[in-house]
Every structure is written in C-alpha cells, then in structure tokens.
C-alpha cells in the first residue's frame, strides 16, 4: 500500500491505496469524483484527461503514487461555483458535446491547449486535440467551442 497525499480541486486528500492504483481509479473510486472517465485501455481516447500541476495528462497512465504532493484539477474543479469556466461555457454555447462521455477530458485538454497558446489556428486546435477521441460530434462544434473559448480566455 502507498499513502498518497495530494491536492485535488483545491482540497488536500490523503489515502492509503495499493501501489498499482492509477490516478483515474484514485479519483473515481477512492475520491468518488466520477466526472473523469475511462474510455479505452491503451491511453488514447483522452476521456480521463485531468490537470496535474497545470498540465494536461491522461489519468489512466499515471499511478496515484507517482503524484505525491501534486496539485490535481479535474472537471469537477474548474467552474467557479455556479459560474462555468469559459471553456465549459463555450462548449455549451457552441453545442460542443452530445453524449457527454468524452467531454470532461476534452474540456480539460482544450483548456491547457488554449492556456499554452492563445493564437490558435483551426489546424492547431484540431492537431492539439489529437489525444482526445469523440464519437458523437464529428469535432466540428468542439473546434468552434475551443475557438470561442480562446477569445474569451484572452486570445
């Protein structure tokens, strides 16, 4: 067992979990934060993307134990109370989601994409979302959402 202590969505958490516990399992099963999803077993779909110390990572491809002391943000942690994050709001305004399953990872990935580069071309956005698979939207409105959010986020 490993004692894992980290900050998740601004709250310090500490739990004993088996060493082989993936971050996504730690979030979903130990912390009951089920917004982060599992859509594949080869680290490709991106439904599990969260932020660790401000960077997007696939929470299915890191052990919780590796992130001792880290600052983790999940989809549950980005809105400011009832006020949605500009990226969440842009997905809502632009119909950037349908079934919602890929959405948490897509939003988390998109936020980091925009934070790293505010002047994104459509091509940059499409390539930047390479690690996130959506089966519903054909990505058309996801790209529009990210473009809209980039403007709001100071692009």
């Amino acid at each position: 067992m490993a004692k894992v202590t980290m900050t998740v969505n601004g709250t310090a958490v500490s739990h004993d979990v088996p060493d082989n516990t993936l971050l996504v399992s730690f979030l979903r099963e130990t912390l009951k934060l089920t917004g982060t999803h599992i859509g594949c077993d080869t680290s490709q779909c991106g439904a599990c993307v969260v932020h660790v110390n401000g960077e997007s990572i696939k929470s299915c491809t890191v052990l919780a134990a590796q992130l001792e002391g880290a600052d983790v943000t999940t989809i549950e942690g980005i809105a400011n109370g009832d006020e949605l994050h500009p990226m969440q709001q842009a997905f809502h305004e632009n119909h950037g989601l349908q079934c919602g399953f890929c959405t948490p990872g897509m939003v988390m990935s998109a936020i980091e994409l925009v934070e790293r580069n505010k002047n994104l071309s459509e091509r940059d956005i499409r390539e930047g979302l390479e690690g996130n698979i959506c089966r519903c939207t054909g990505y058309h409105n996801i790209v529009k959402s990210v473009q809209a959010a980039a403007e709001k986020m100071g692009g």
């Binding site: 979903r28 934060l33 089920t34 917004g35 982060t36 999803h37 599992i38 859509g39 594949c40 077993d41 080869t42 490709q44 779909c45 439904a47 999940t74 989809i75 549950e76 809105a79 949605l84 969440q88 997905f91 809502h92 305004e93 119909h95 989601l97 349908q98 079934c99 919602g100 399953f101 890929c102 959405t103 948490p104 939003v107 459509e122 091509r123 956005i125 499409r126 390539e127 979302l129 390479e130 996130n132 698979i133 959506c134 089966r135 519903c136 939207t137 054909g138 990505y139 058309h140 409105n141 996801i142 790209v143």
Partner: protein
C-alpha cells in the same frame, strides 16, 4: 434569447438543458453507479474462433482470493436459462423459414468467435475476477475458422444442420421485370462493392450493475442501453423467466450508442442471473478490448450491382445481390438490417421501375453484426451512389446531372417504389442545387487546377441519399418479419403548480431530447422551458417505450408527446369552460391561455392546472380531477429524409494520403425543432462516414483473430482527420405526423461514405482509376495509382 419564453419553442436553437451536468462532471453513467456490497464480474472469452469445448476447468480459479463464484455454460443450461433472441424472422425465397440457431449466454458445446463468452467469474474486486479468469482452463478441439464472407457458404459448418452457413436467403422485388430491363438496356453498369466492417465504438464502454432484492424478489438493473423496455422484455420473457413487474431497468446517462447498445447482451443476462443466485449486487464494466471483441459490429456486405439504363440514360432496372456477414450468432436485429432496412431502400431518390434484390445472411466465425448508425441504409446508399457515379462515367454525363435526370420528380409524390415503400413527400432537386452552390461546384475546375500546381490531385464527389426512418409502422414491421411493434408512448403530467413532466419511451444518449422535447412542450403549452422536465430511461417511471435508434425519437416519440399534449389541451378546455361558465366548444387555447371566443374571459394554463388538482366544484359526472394524459402513437408510414452531400478532397499522389478539404450538404429532415442539435447530428454522422470511407476497418486474420482490437490498430477519426462542414437544410414537411418531422440522426453516416469515395475516384481519374474500396487508406490509394500507371504503361 431570454429563457422562459415561447422563444424557446419550435425552430429555436435552444442551448441544451442537459449540458451543465456533462460539462461539470456530474453526468451519471452506469459505471459511476455502485451498490453497497457489490461483486464484480469478468468474462472468460474464447481465444479461438471456432472450436468445440472439450472441458472448462474452474477449480483453480474458484479457490483464488476473493472469488465468490465461477459459472460455465453448463451451469446456465442446468438452470434452464434461455438464450439471446433473434428479434426478426424473414422467409427464405423458397418459402421456407430462416434458420435461427440457439445463442446461449455462456457457450456450452462450441465457441463461434473470438470473444464468445465461455465462463463468468464473480469476485470481491474487479482485479480478483480478472486474475481468476486467467486461471480458468478451457480445452478446445479447434475447427476450421470461417472468416472470408465471399467463401463462407463453403466453409466449415458453424451451426449444427444449418446448410451453407446461410441463416436466410431472402428476396424482394420483381426478378423477371428486372431481368427484362437489363436485357433491353442501352447501357448496363456492373459494379461490386464491399461495405467494410465497422466497430461502433461509443466512447462509453458497455456496463451493467444489477441488484437483486431477495425480500421483494425483484431486480434493479442499471445498463448502458438505448432501449430499456425492450431489454427488460427480452431478459424477463425470453432469458430468465422473470415477471416484468419484478424488473426495473434503468438506463442512466448513456455515453453514445450508435446501434450497438440496442440489444440485450450476454453479460447483462449473466450478471442478472448470478445476482439472484448469490444474493449480492454485481457490477460489470467492459474495457475497450472487450468492447471491440463483443459489441455487435456493423456493415460488412458484399453487393453485386447491375444497373440498366435506357438510351436516354434513364434508369430502367436495378438488380443487387448481397452477401451480408452476420457473424457467429444472430444478434437481435441482425436480420432486419440487410433486409427490411436495406432491400427496401434500393430505389434511393430515383425513379426506377424495376428492382430486384437477393440477400443472403451468412454466418462466419466472427463477432455478431447488427445495426450500426444507419443500419442497412448506408449499405444501400453506398452501393447505389457508387453505381450512380460509375454509370455517369460510363455514359459520359456529369454526375450531378445524371442524378437530376433520374430523380423522382417533385409532383410524383406519394411515390410507390418497386421495393415496397411508399415515399410520402420529397423534393430532391433543390437539395442538390443548394449543395452544389454551397460547395461552389462551378468553381471546382479552377480549384483542381490550383491543386495540380501544388502537386495534389483534387476530386469532388456527390451522394444523393434517401433514408427511411421514424421506425415505425408496427403493421409494416410485422409484415416484414419484425417480432416487435414499433410505436412510441408518452405521458404528459401537469403538476398543480403548472410544471410539466414528460415521460417518453425514447432514450437519449447524446441526442438532446431533454431540450428538443421540452421545446415542443413550450411551443404547444406556452410554459417556460425551464418548467418542463423530460424523463426517460427508467422502466419504473416510464409507461412503455421502444427506445432510440433508426432516427425515430422525434418522428415517433415526439409525435406521441404531441398527441398527449393534444389531450391535455382538450381536457384543459373542458376545465376552462367549467371555470369560465362557457360552452366547451367556445373555449380556445392560445399562447398559454384559455379564452372564451368573443369575450375577454380567460384563464391561464397555470390556473387550469391548479384547478385540476383542487377541483372543489368540479362536475364529477363529466370531469375527472387531475391533468395527466397518455398517448401511444403508431405512425402510418416511415419518414423519408433525403439530401445531397458533396465531398471535396485532395490526394497526395506521393503518399496516397487523402485530405478532406471541404464538405457541403443540404438535407431535408422536415420541420426542425432545434436546428443547432440537428446540425450537430449531421456533423457527427459525417464524422462516422468519413471514418468508414477513409480510416476504419475491423480486420480479422485468417484464423479469426481480431487484429483491430484496440485504438492502436482500429483507426478512430480524430479532430485533424475531419474537415469543417457546411450544413444546411430545406424543408418538405412529413405529411403523416403532426409535427411534420422526419429524423436526422443517421443521415450523415448514410450519405457521406459514397460522396467521399466518389470524390477520391474523381481525384484519381487522371491516373485512370475507376474503383476503390473502403477504407481508402493511404496505401490503398497509392497502390491504385501505381497499378493504374502500370496498366497504362502496358
């Protein structure tokens, strides 16, 4: 647009009510649900494609840490558990019944595909169940696999006594008339196409959580289903023999389906059965690998097409001979897809006097194949629209003009096709013209020349499609072999305070019903949209329903809601007449108010609602308290959306890479309730169609091993594979439902693959390429160029 006004009614692109929970991580999917004391199931699956089972040794597994039970096919058989069902039976063309082999929930004597369920482990943790599965020893006597569809008939016998591995041999249309047309034709166009096998891949893998209550002898089953009532019916009546009243099926948020979540699968049935035996809740969640192996796959046809043209280039006959790969077992609606949803669509949007089709449903030692977005209609559209281009090329016509020449004219509706369906309404030329204008068809030659300067080959391709959706008329379904009715139900419940709950038998797994249906209520009753709640996906809350697939939710489910609203208004008028001391006939309902004609007397909808539940002076002999109405709606006909999609591509001849550079489409879905959602459905359908045409293919090797069993090898469309899309709509309103709506969920996936392949072939025309199969991978395109060049050099 401010919320809470009738501006949120029909025709407004209202932002979705359901979004917030998905965007904040508060969606509740099946795998998010846990029950106290739950066990975890894991399935031992066949790792060979075709074999008799000699023995299944479970002792080692049973003794492992945390293992509570290990079950085999023997156990379920000894318990008298029924098999999975075939929900659709057709008659062979010789008049005999089709073959419907048994489909046990755990294989007992034989396995028939890699992934077939052999044993079930139930353990205290998922990891323990998985470890125990590795300790189960299955001894097989291997039989020859049957993988190749074209030669399946001569392969090893897969089901005892089923000759030629043929489940059915079905026909539709007039064979003699079609033969005569081909005989007398000025031009005969021959084409054989392969509709590649796909794996649906909704992003949420299948899952089930079942909780048996020993005191009440009842079950609660959470499942990732598109179709909770049908799942309940099948599991109760055919598999486990449970009274339906003892089974609550809940489909909470479901992360996409695309057809693959319509059916009852073995895993849910096994978990339900075991939950009672063990008196513990059981959870099962598929990982992606299991999803690849055992979700019902889609498509997989070989279609041989012969099209007859007269000397004016009018189509006078069409014959299509189809082999449909249905896999190792019949999935529930596998039979319907290549017959009822395919053979009947072969007229497309064209006036074709004689059509004949023969469809053979074949068994192979691969996963079962069933409906996947479009189900049968993409296959029909693909073969027809590829043939339309081949025909135009053969007779030297512009493909757009060849289509225009053969369209069913606007004044010919209702139009009786040669393959059973009667189209109620349509107007195909404006759709074609609009799409041509959107893509700037006239400017294409210039763009092609520009591309050539950059060393690229540009192509443009059309597809004019029709689909039958709003699935639909129970009488037709029954006549064509369906063992279910296909109507829909709705309850509209008005609360005393005027809030409204709508209980619909359809199910939303991404389609936005919470919003679209609420807009309908808002429009009709004048109630603010935030006071309308749409309830679906729970058999204990919903009267009955047939779920969502086949682009049926609005056309059938929405119309049922509309009919229930009619009844609410009718009763409201009686209540208002009583309150306003007027004749029922004099009361009108408009803009949320009941008024007495010719007076200023009025009652708001809210006042009527309150009065219905506080009926202090109701004349009970003619007026019951309460305001809640039910409607079951069984349509008179299918609906027939149609449209034209145009793809423009650029091919890099040095690598064979195809880039989709533009897309334009104009569809007729009838009236639109929420254009934003409709466009989103089209985008998604095109995305899947581009996937089929360029990227996706389920590949079994000669031994029947699935080589594309993960995203490492099965190519899912990513954002950078797809273009930005131009989507527009024109309207001819459906004539036979109250809303004039048709359905939009599948159109993109139906229309897009032939448009894209036609575009790639067009791009490669300078090399002499005339045929290309899906998916048009870089190597395939590069090789087609090499082969054509080699041939030209000869």
């Amino acid at each position: 647009m401010p919320e809470g006004t009738v501006n949120n009614g029909i025709g407004a692109s209202v932002r979705r009510k359901e979004d917030k929970r998905f965007l904040t991580g508060s969606g509740r999917y099946t795998d998010d649900i846990n029950r106290a004391g739950q066990l975890y199931a894991y399935f031992v699956r066949a790792n060979v494609a075709h074999a008799t089972i000699k023995s299944v040794k479970t002792d080692k597994a049973a003794k492992m840490d945390g293992v509570v039970a290990v079950y085999t096919g023997e156990d379920v058989a000894n318990d008298g558990v029924g098999g999975l069902i075939n929900g659709w039976a057709v008659t062979n063309r010789d008049g005999s019944a089709m073959t419907e082999p048994p489909h046990p929930i755990l294989a007992k004597d034989k396995v028939r595909y890699v992934g077939d369920h052999v044993a079930m482990i139930v353990a205290e943790s998922a990891a323990q169940a998985m470890s125990a599965a590795e300790a189960v020893e299955v001894a097989y006597d291997q039989l020859p696999p049957v993988v190749d569809l074209a030669s399946a008939a001569s392969g090893a016998e897969i089901h005892d006594g089923m000759a030629n591995n043929t489940y059915f041999d079905w026909e539709l249309g007039d064979e003699a008339a079609t033969a005569a047309a081909l005989e007398s034709a000025a031009t005969v166009v021959n084409l054989t196409v392969r509709n590649n096998r796909l794996i649906p891949n909704p992003m949420e893998p299948r899952a089930a959580v079942v909780d048996y209550d020993p005191i009440a002898d009842s079950y609660v089953l959470h499942s990732t289903t598109q179709n909770p009532h049908l799942l309940r019916l099948v599991i109760c009546a055919f598999v486990l023999g449970i009274p339906e009243s003892k089974m609550q099926v809940i489909a909470p948020d479901v992360g996409g389906g695309f057809g693959s979540k319509i059916y009852l699968y073995a895993e849910e049935a096994c978990c339900t059965w075991a939950s009672k035996k063990l008196r513990r809740p059981i959870k099962w969640t598929a990982d992606r690998t299991q999803a690849f192996l055992s979700d019902a796959h889609g498509r997989d046809h070989i279609n041989k097409v012969q099209m007859a043209l007269d000397s004016n280039n009018r189509i006078i006959g069409l014959r299509v001979d189809t082999l449909a790969n249905l896999g190792g077992y019949l999935s529930a609606f596998a039979v319907a897809t290549p017959t009822y949803l395919h053979g009947t669509l072969l007229s497309g949007c064209y006036d074709i006097p004689a059509i004949y089709t023969n469809v053979k449903g074949m068994a192979t030692t691969t996963a079962p194949v069933d409906a996947y977005r479009g189900a049968g209609r993409p296959e029909a559209t693909y073969l027809l629209e590829r043939t339309m281009d081949a025909a135009a090329r053969q007779v030297g016509m512009d493909p757009a003009e060849f289509r225009r020449l053969n369209f069913i004219p606007k004044d010919a509706f209702p139009y009786q096709t040669a393959v059973a369906l009667q189209y109620d309404i349509g107007d195909y030329e404006p759709l074609l013209d609009k799409a041509l204008e959107m893509i700037d068809y006239k400017g294409f030659a210039g763009r092609r020349a520009e591309s050539r300067k950059q060393g690229k080959y540009r192509g443009i391709g059309l597809s004019s499609y029709i689909e039958a959706c709003g699935i639909a008329p129970s009488a037709v379904v029954g006549a064509l072999g369906g063992r279910v009715g296909l109507y829909e139900s709705a309850v509209v419940r008005v609360d005393p305070t005027g809030t409204i709950s709508v209980f619909t038998g359809t199910h939303s797994h991404g389609q936005g019903h919470d919003t679209t249906f609420a807009q309908l209520v808002t429009e009709r009753l004048g109630v603010p949209i935030e006071r309308v709640e749409i309830v679906h996906g729970d058999t204990n809350r919903i009267q009955f329903g047939m779920g969502s697939y086949g682009s049926r939710s609005l056309a059938v489910g929405g119309t049922a809601i509309s009919k229930a609203i009619d009844k609410v208004i009718a009763k409201g008028r009686i209540i208002a007449a009583h309150m306003l001391e007027a004749d029922d006939a004099d009361v009108e309902f408009k803009d949320g108010k009941f008024t007495v004609a010719g007076t200023d007397k009025e009652k708001s909808f809210g006042e009527i609602a309150l009065s219905a539940y506080v009926p202090h002076n109701f004349p009970h002999d003619r007026l019951e308290p309460g305001l809640e109405e039910t409607a079951f709606y069984d349509p008179l006909n299918f609906t027939y959306p149609a449209g034209t999609h145009i793809a423009e591509v650029e091919v890099d001849p040095a690598t064979g890479v195809v880039e989709v550079v533009d897309w334009a489409c104009c569809d007729d879905f009838g009236n639109l309730i929420n254009p934003m959602i409709v466009h989103g459905q089209v985008h998604g359908g095109i995305g899947q169609g581009v996937g089929q045409a360029l990227l996706e293919n389920a590949h079994y090797d000669d031994n029947g091993q699935l080589l594309t069993a993960s995203y490492m090898d099965y190519c899912m469309p990513r954002a950078d594979d797809l273009p930005s899309m131009q989507v527009d709509c024109l309207v001819t309103a459906c004539t036979h439902n109250d809303l004039g709506v048709k359905g939009c969920g599948e159109a993109g996936a139906i229309a897009s693959p032939p448009a894209l392949i036609n575009a790639v072939i067009d791009a490669l025309t300078p090399f002499g390429v005339t045929d290309l199969s899906m998916p048009a991978t870089p190597e395939k395109v590069w090789r087609a160029i090499q082969d054509a060049q080699a041939k030209a050099a000869e």
